[in-house]
């Protein structure tokens, strides 16, 4: 028993080391094609995530124009870093829709007031069901969807300033 305990730290450390190594080997790419890229948005209807703003249904996303669907949360720190870029995109006329994951309306309202509100509509996804249906598993994550509701691209992680031109051109292609 004591023998086992003595070697346990080394065993745990080796497991961590394996995880680290695999994390390093797998290439860190900001645009990983998900299984859903090229397929239509799954159907959903989400209640408003924040009072005074419409909720989000998948039907709205087939309105003939390319747009962004941003999966985010008020408790997510990278989402704060991403906020200026989303505002910039919205100011450039891009329709941005939000899906708020595991959030409370009051936290969300505070987040929007603090970081700006680029969203046309925000659906609240309290138990991540739509997030899972989308094949998204983290926040923030952004989908570029064309006018017919087909997902054209998935952007994992925060949208950094240098990502904005690529997203604009992908939106142009989705027209």
């Amino acid at each position: 028993m004591r023998k086992l305990l003595i070697w346990l730290p080394l065993a745990l450390f080796l497991v961590f080391l394996g995880v680290f190594a695999s994390g390093l080997i797998s290439p860190e790419s900001k645009t990983i094609p998900s299984k859903l890229v090229g397929k239509p948005m799954p159907g959903f209807a989400l209640a408003p995530g924040v009072p005074g703003k419409p909720g989000l249904t998948s039907a709205e996303l087939t309105n003939g124009r390319p747009h962004l669907v941003n999966v985010f949360a008020s408790w997510c720190v990278p989402c704060i870093a991403e906020a200026p870029q989303l505002r910039q995109l919205a100011e450039a006329g891009v329709p941005v829709y939000g899906i708020a994951i595991r959030d409370r309306p009051e936290d969300l309202a505070r987040f929007l007031e603090r970081n700006g509100d680029p969203f046309r509509a925000i659906g609240g996804d309290p138990n991540s069901s739509v997030q899972i249906a989308l094949g998204s598993s983290g926040v923030p994550e952004t989908f570029i969807v064309d006018g017919k509701g087909i997902i054209r691209r998935q952007h994992i992680g925060a949208i950094n300033p240098e990502d904005v031109p690529g997203i604009m051109s992908a939106l142009g292609d989705a027209r």
Binding site: P9, F13, V19, F20, W75, P78, R102, S137, G138, G157
Partner: protein, 641 residues
């Protein structure tokens, strides 16, 4: 030529580290005393050479020598002098050079000052320290040479990340690094003691000042880092559970546990294997933290210098040092006797509980930090873990921990009586009950965790003074004062956290010029917004008038700064500190109707969070002075060289 001289000094130092390791190894295994005698001067010269390399780099930064690639990428002639200086370590290569410099200087200091340890154990320790240094020298020389030239030299440098252009932050990384490296010395002592099978009180006493010093610096680093994030990011929060923050919190938790178990070993000869284990874990956490921040495998808002290739290098170092130390631990610890026995209800017992709780919190933070990585390697999916997890998992344990902290110092060594302990705690318990009643009456809607926090803070604060009761205060040893003040600091911090989380008021408005808004007890009016120019940025500056009740109005100047190179925007919150809290004002962008985004917070007693951190560090400092003075009186000076 100067840059080449720095590089040459670095190569020489690396060669000496190799020599130090080889001679130490041979000396310890063959018992040749001539080899042993040579190791200490080598350690000292190695420290001097590394110091020269670091001074050279500082010189290159201060004179803005743009023919050096690192300077061109991180410095600019328009920068204020302080940031040219701090720019030396505000980047990957420079911070690694700083790390290895501190490491070598610490090794030199051990060689000069250490006199309690048996000669063989000391030499094994110095060899271990050289082995760590060698890995970092290799990292610098082969993967991130700070002295590499750039040809042709550019006309102007690219500047320093504006987030780092802050006097507090200029000295934040050095503080943390000193802490990390202090833990490397503890690690080397543990390896040395395992090699010579000499895990005893001498080892614990030799290690203790290093652990204490490292812990003080980590405490200061974390406290300062938290305050920096609070006023610089403009988000109004003070802790975000960001991977970079966790990277400094995890070594602190391990060092706190180690600090307490090393005291048990030094005074009571108990917890031998556990102390050695914690020394290994504490330094491992420093390395893991460095790895996480540097490798880019976790995303964070303020991780810098991310590069998978360098990550691989640090991972290899991690594998060799931590894996090697844990293997040595497995092989040798069986031959270490566990030491003196004690009852469950005793000072030792409470320290064991403290250690277990700290380890559990450390585990929670580690799992939360690494979970996204583990999940990704198993399922291929990316996840992130938010503050809800950390707060709800670590919060309750932290609460229990501070309660144990209140009881521990008033218990007797070896064995005590539970009833007697509770009797000694009667007055603090009474105060807690009183606070509980008062808070429920005055703030009925308060959430449970802040409520318990306030109650515990009151009781623990009073109980932490208990070791002074009935003592002659002028004859009380300094290290007892240190413990009392550090524990009091924890209670003060906790009161601040609970108060901030329970009673903060915020108002976020689109403000027209001249329109009054309320936040907490203040009335706030935006009078004007004007562009202003700084030394290397432009900004919009708000003029805000605030008034508390019928008090005297005062003016605040929050800014949003825009730095051209690299293009970045930062918020300079205007903060007014009064005895019972802080008014925190941030001005943001204008909307189409000419209204300005104005964010106001009233944060009652928020300053206690950092004041408590300062007290904890002060307590550690007094304790360090007390311990060192005592050791000096008891240990005879050793012949040097």
């Amino acid at each position: 030529m100067i840059a080449e001289a720095g590089l040459a000094a670095l190569w020489l130092a690396a060669a000496l580290a190799a020599l130090q390791l080889a001679m130490g190894w041979m000396g310890v295994s063959s018992q040749r005393t001539d080899l042993l005698a040579a190791v200490r001067p080598i350690a000292i010269i190695q420290a001097g050479l590394t110091g020269i390399a670091f001074l050279v780099l500082i010189y290159l930064f201060v004179t803005v020598d743009l023919s050096v690639a690192l300077v061109a990428a991180n410095d600019a002639s328009t920068k204020p002098l302080l940031y040219k200086f701090a720019g030396t370590w505000g980047n990957h290569e420079g911070s690694m050079l700083m790390w290895v410099t501190i490491l070598a200087v610490a090794g030199g200091a051990v060689a000069i000052f250490e006199r309690r340890l048996d000669e063989r154990t000391l030499i094994a320790t110095l060899a271990a320290q050289a082995a760590i240094g060698l890995g970092f020298y290799a990292f610098l020389l082969f993967a991130s040479n700070p002295f590499a030239r750039l040809d042709p030299a550019p006309a102007e440098g690219q500047g320093l990340n504006p987030l780092l252009q802050d006097p507090g932050l200029a000295f934040h990384p050095p503080t943390l690094y000193l802490g990390y490296v202090g833990l490397s010395v503890a690690f080397s002592f543990a390896v040395g003691a395992l090699v010579t099978r000499d895990v005893g009180t001498a080892f614990a006493r030799a290690m203790r000042p290093w652990v204490l010093g490292a812990w003080i610096l980590l405490t200061i680093g974390i406290t300062a880092g938290s305050y920096w994030a609070y006023y610089e990011l403009g988000w109004g929060g003070w802790w975000f559970w960001d991977p970079v923050e966790n990277a400094s919190l995890m070594p602190w938790l391990a060092a706190t546990a180690l600090l307490h178990s090393v005291t048990v070993l030094a005074t009571r000869e108990g917890l031998r294997a556990w102390t050695v284990m914690l020394a290994v874990v504490a330094f491992s956490m420093s390395m893991v933290g460095t790895f996480l921040v540097r490798s880019g495998i976790l995303t964070s808002v303020h991780a810098f210098a991310v590069d998978p290739e360098r990550g691989t290098f640090i991972l290899a170092l991690l594998a060799i040092y931590i894996g090697g130390a844990l293997a040595l631990f497995g092989l040798r610890v069986g031959t270490v006797r566990e030491g003196s026995r004690f009852d469950a209800v005793s000072r030792e017992g409470s320290l064991v509980i403290n250690n277990l709780l700290l380890s559990a919190i450390l585990g929670i933070v580690l799992v939360g930090t690494l979970y996204p990585l583990i999940a990704e390697s198993i399922t291929g999916e990316k996840l992130s873990v938010g503050p809800p997890y950390f707060n709800s998992a670590a919060g309750p344990l932290a609460l229990i921990l501070v309660m144990v902290m209140a009881a521990g110092p008033i218990m007797r060594w070896r064995r005590d009586d539970l009833k007697a302990t509770l009797t000694r705690l009667a007055i603090p318990l009474l105060l807690s009950a009183l606070v509980l009643l008062l808070v429920i009456l005055l703030a009925p809607g308060i959430r449970i965790l802040p409520l318990l926090g306030l109650v515990a803070a009151a009781g623990v604060g009073l109980a932490s003074l208990a070791p002074l009761w009935g003592r002659n205060l002028r004859r009380t040893p300094l290290y007892i004062w240190g413990m009392v003040i550090a524990h009091l600091g924890i209670a003060v911090s906790m009161a601040g956290m609970a108060s901030e989380s329970a009673f903060t008021k915020e108002t976020l408005v689109a403000a027209r010029i001249g329109e009054p808004h309320r936040v907490g007890p203040y009335s706030v009016r935006l009078d004007d917004v004007q562009p202003v120019a700084g030394p290397n940025y432009t900004a919009i500056e708000g003029t805000v008038t605030a008034q508390r009740g019928d008090g005297k109005p005062f003016t605040l100047h929050p800014q949003t700064r825009n730095f051209p190179s690299p293009q970045t925007e930062t918020n300079e919150a205007a903060i007014t500190t009064v005895p019972d809290g802080q008014l925190y004002v941030v001005v943001g962008r204008a909307d189409e109707q000419g209204r300005w985004q104005l964010r106001l917070w009233w944060k009652p007693f928020v300053t206690l969070i950092w004041a408590g951190g300062g007290l904890v560090a002060l307590g550690g400092f007094l304790s360090l002075i007390g311990r060192v003075r005592r050791e000096m009186r008891h240990a005879p000076p050793r012949e040097f060289l």
